[in-house]
Structures are given as C-alpha cells and as structure tokens.
Symmetry: C2
Subunit: 364 residues, 2 copies
C-alpha cells in the first residue's frame, strides 16, 4: 500500500490553530516525520493575531514551535509551519484537516472553493454542527458540497490539553465510502497514546459530537439535584439511547456499533463527568432553575455560549416538527427545563417510554 | 393477560434479606399490594441472627417492618413477612427471587430441591458468579439445573441504598425463553423510580454483573495515576468492548444491544465512578503497587474480598487456557498489574489490538 512505496504522496494542511487544532498539528507532525508516504512539513493556517508583545502569532509559532496563545508550553514539532494566508496554506496540500469554530466553516469553504487540488481528501474535527428543522447541517456535508471533495470526520473523548500532555486517549474516524482514505487518516493521527479507529458511518460519528452535549446538560441537572451515581448512570444511558434513536431517525444508515466507539460512549462519559455543559447545568439545578442559563454562562464562561442548550433547542424543533417529542423524553425534558417550563427535578421523572428506531421516510 | 384476570395467581418469596434483598422486597411489596395478579404478601427468607438487643432479627422485621440490621431507616411495607425457615418460606411461592451472597446459592439450591412448586419461576439478583477454566458457573444455570425451574436474572446500576431512598434508577431483566414470565418480573419490580426493561439474553445480562468489576479495577488504576477524564473514558470504553467480546466468546448468542441496557453501560459507569473495586484499585496505584490488594482490602474493606480481582484472575485463566490473552489487553493488564507482574502505569499502555468476536467452537 501507500506506506510501502516510499514516496511522499501526501501533503497535509491543518485549517485552524486553536487549542484542539494545535494539538492535532502536533499529533500529525509527529507522524509525518516518521511515515514515508507523507511530506514532513505540516502547514497550519493561523488566523493572524497580534500578541501583547507586538509580535505576530504566526511569527512566534514559527520561531518557538509553540502556539503560545492557544497551547502554551507544548512543542508542536519543528515541521509545523504556521501560515496566515489561507489560500497559500492549502495550495499544495491534498489532505486538509478542518478544525475551526463551526461558524467559520461556511466562509472558509467559500474562500477555498476552486482553489484546492482535485485529489484532496478532507477531514473535519469540528464538533457542534447545527441541527435545523430540515435536519442537521453537517460540517462534512458542507465541505463535500462546497469544495467537491470527500470529507471524513474525527471525533472522540478528546480534551485537547490532556492529549497535548500525551495522556492515553482514543478517537474515531467516520468515513462514508473511501476506506483507503480513512486508513490514511488513521495512520496520520494514530500514536501510541492516541489510538484511532475508523468506522464507515460518517453521520453517526459526526452526530455523536453534537448530541452528547444535550446529555451532558441532563447529567449536570442530576449532579445539581445531588442524586447518586445510579441516577446519573441511568440518565447517561437513556441519553445514549436517545442519541442513537435520533441519529437513526435522521440517517437510517447510522450503526448501533458506532456508539461503542470513542466518539460514542467514551466521549459521552467525558462530557457527563467533566464537561462545561454539565458544569453550568449543575449550577442551574442547584439554583432551582431561578438563574437562567444565559446568566450563568455570562458569569461562569465569560460570555461563551453553551453548545448543549442550543442543540437541545434545535433537537426540540426537529422532534416537535415531526410530532416525536414523546419518543425522546430525555431530550424533551432537557429543553423544557433549560427554558424554565419544567423544574430541574423533572429530569428524573421522565417517561419510561423507550425511543424506537423510526425511519425518516415514514415521518414525512 | 394475567393482570386483567383479577385473580391472585402469583405468590412471591424473596430468598435473602441483606441490603439489596431488603430493597428488592420493598420494591416488590409496593407492587403486590397494587397489582391484582399477585398475592399481597411477600415472604422474605431471613438467615436468622440474634441482635445486640437479644431479639431475633425476624421478630424485629415483622414488628417494625424494617430490616434494622441491613437496611435501617427504611420501611419495607407491612406485607413483607420475614421467615427464618427456608423450606417454609418457599412452600407456597411460585415466584422465587434469589438475592443471597453467591457462595450460599449452591447450598440453598440443595436444600430446596424437590421442595418447591413445579410451576415456579426463579430470578437471580446475585452479581458475582464465578468464571472457571471450563467457563462461567452462572447462578441462573445453577438454579435451573438444581431446582429444575426456569430462571431469569435482574441486573443494573443498582446501589441498594439509593434505590431504597427512591432515587431514579433502572434495571434489566435477562431471560432465556419465557417472555411472559419476563414481563411478569418487569411488572413485579418496576416502579416510577425503578424502570425495568426485559431483554432475551440471560447470559449477556448475568455476565455484565461480573465482568464490570474487572473494568472497575482498571478505572481505579487510572484514577490513582491521576490521569484525566479522557483516559478514564477510554479505559472504560475498551473495557466495555472486552466485556462484550468475552461474553460472546463464551456464549455466541449474547447480543451487543444488551450492553446499551442498564446492566451494561449504566452499571459499568456506576462501578467505574463510585464502586469499591475502583476505590481499592485507586489506592493500589497511588502506592505504586507497593501495597498488595490483600493488604489494602484488609485495611479499607474490613477483610471483605474484592470481586474484581478474583474475577480478573478467573478471566485470565480462561483466556490463558484458550491462548487468547492478546485479544483482551485490558483484562490481561488488570490481572498482571493486580498480581504485581506489571506496574499500574501499564494500564494505559495496553496494546491497541481490538478484541474481536470469537466463536467458542473455533477455539476448541
């Protein structure tokens, strides 16, 4: 296969350079210098910023091999080259790694359309796609449509700083058709401390990264109510089942087995034990729902918006539109509680009706 | 169905009266007084003890409706009758709930053989069956063989004291053939705060309750090493996959979907967040493996033996016997670490080889 040809066929650009983007560049760069099929150099597009010192962020990264702003203290590898010019950064690449805040992706795709190599493969590490009434607007689909290239996704229980410190972790690559490309992504990301597995289920993997935040909110309510581990485990399990049922409603091809991968059960556990959706929801329940999510977010997250509350709202819209709220009691309760229609204690009084697999077709 | 006949057809005896047995009696008693198909009275066999006051435990339970020794402060229901005479306790019953320490079951079955009604259905709530080289000695199989009756199991994320306080929880009934009997068990146990689901997979459900303890040990090592949530979630996920693969190796009929039930992922989460296997393993890792499990158990559990370490040893015997250790890197590492052959840090250096489904047949 490609690894044995000893020809540097693949050239990588990481589009994005935040906390997770920098860790991704580090992981990739540690492999490209070892594996023969990849060019050593990893180009990283950096949205240029002026640092307090007056220096440009790209200059400092290229001088110190460190993203001093978003991943201080971690060497990225000498073969990571920061580039502030998006078009220039991608022009020679045939493997593009997208890892920006999701609201920037539409603009980035518009700028890149027609300017990338025809043989390019993409992968999105972006969690938090939007779900609209008409269905989810997946980042992988956006890339496919706007750039005309194949796009996989990589998701998992991935707290960037823990991976930067080389603590053992896992991730899942979701792909649609091109198994060889998926294996190439696995080779590019996999390290002894970062174990990557590929599954043919791009929609399932990408939806995990979004829906888990709704369950994280539910878990936070349980913590705020000071319920025990039994209750929390039950709520997480019901949430997992609703994630599967919701994904399969939107995409009947989504596989149950995807939820046994890192993107599924592992990311859910991380989110429900330590995530910030959980944390704010805990504070919300401790205050008996008397202080709004907006208020708590402003105070505890310095104005950042919680993904889980937005997603719960979007999921609610889809379910309400299709008359299926009763089949997703946990998702419905999270929305009702976070909007003040029900008290936090309603999370443990959800109807025991089980979500069933429903075909999108039969609902229209 | 039986509920609409308005005939009290079913009479229940709970064999066992420890912490979990008392909670089970409470759950059941709250339903038998409401549901027409069950006799109100729930008989509970109590291994007679003399209390410090000089009174007999059964007398106090029958006087106060409280198991003052094993579930103090909780009313069991006036319709729970404690009976110190095993044969007498079961003689009119046709639904037997087994909830004793597992080492007592062989003796209990021997005493009961030939003394129970022919139409009796059994259910085991006993976690911690043994796994021998020849395969697991399942409690449900023991009951079937020795008493000649059908036996289901009930497992789940069930910390007895939390359920006693009526905190929301779930459980799974595993059955082999008799779906109607399984539905009857669901009716008998299910309450608004204790949601019970039946699945046709008695082996899968019963094995969950044992194998989870091995993963709980692994999770404790991660905690003791002060790794982050990513790592812990990854270890839990790998453990879940090995639980599935090991169960399917022993019983090819075991279903993946069983692990999405309370007995699977939810009980695993509870065990890995709060359980005592986790706790002792954490202490073991904090001491760098320099103090043995025996020593830590003696100090922290007043001499009780940890189920997880025993099970890890039993699982190791099975895998070693079959030459399959390499396919279960986490189970193998837990055994090697707990016996001092590897340092605790080995838990996060496990080989990434994935456990695959193997057929028992192909291994013999």
């Amino acid at each position: 296969m490609f690894e044995t040809k000893r020809v540097k066929m693949y050239k990588i650009t990481v589009v994005g350079s935040g906390n997770w983007g920098s860790v991704a560049a580090k992981l990739i760069a540690s492999n490209t210098i070892k594996l023969d099929s990849f060019h050593d150099e990893v180009r990283m597009w950096v949205f240029e910023e002026k640092l307090p010192s007056g220096e440009k962020l790209t200059d400092v990264i290229n001088k110190t091999n460190e993203n001093v702003k978003y991943l201080p203290g971690i060497k990225l590898g000498k073969n990571v080259i920061a580039d502030p010019d998006l078009e220039n950064a991608v022009k020679d690449a045939n493997m593009l790694v997208f890892v920006t805040p999701h609201q920037f992706m539409d603009g980035i795709c518009k700028r890149l359309a027609g300017k990338i190599r025809a043989d390019t493969e993409g992968i999105s590490l972006i969690k938090g796609m939007e779900v609209t009434k008409e269905g989810p607007s997946m980042i992988s689909t956006l890339v496919k449509k706007q750039l005309g290239i194949n796009c996989s996704v990589l998701m998992g229980a991935n707290i960037a700083n823990e991976i930067a410190m080389e603590q053992f972790s896992e991730a899942t690559v979701g792909y649609s058709q091109n198994k060889l490309a998926a294996e190439r992504w696995v080779h590019l990301f996999n390290t002894p401390y970062f174990n990557v597995t590929a599954v043919q289920d791009v929609e399932g993997v990408e939806l995990c990264g979004t829906l888990k935040n709704v369950v994280g909110i539910a878990a936070g309510f349980v913590d705020g109510l000071e319920m025990g581990n039994n209750t929390k485990a039950a709520i997480m399990r019901i949430g997992l089942k609703e994630m599967i049922a919701f994904s399969q409603m939107l995409f009947p091809s989504v596989k149950d087995s995807t939820y046994f991968e890192s993107c599924g059960v592992a990311d859910l556990i991380t989110t429900c034990i330590g995530g910030r959706n959980r944390k704010i929801a805990e504070a919300f329940a401790r205050n008996g729902g008397k202080r709004s999510f907006d208020e708590l977010e402003a105070e505890m997250l310095q104005g950042q918006k919680l993904q889980g509350v937005l997603t719960a709202h979007e999921v609610h819209e889809v379910l309400s539109h299709r008359g299926l709220l009763h089949m997703f009691p946990l998702f419905s309760a999270v929305h009702a509680i976070s909007t003040g229609q029900l008290p936090p204690s309603a999370i443990v009084k959800i109807n025991n009706e089980k979500p069933r697999q429903v075909q999108l077709q039969s609902m229209l």
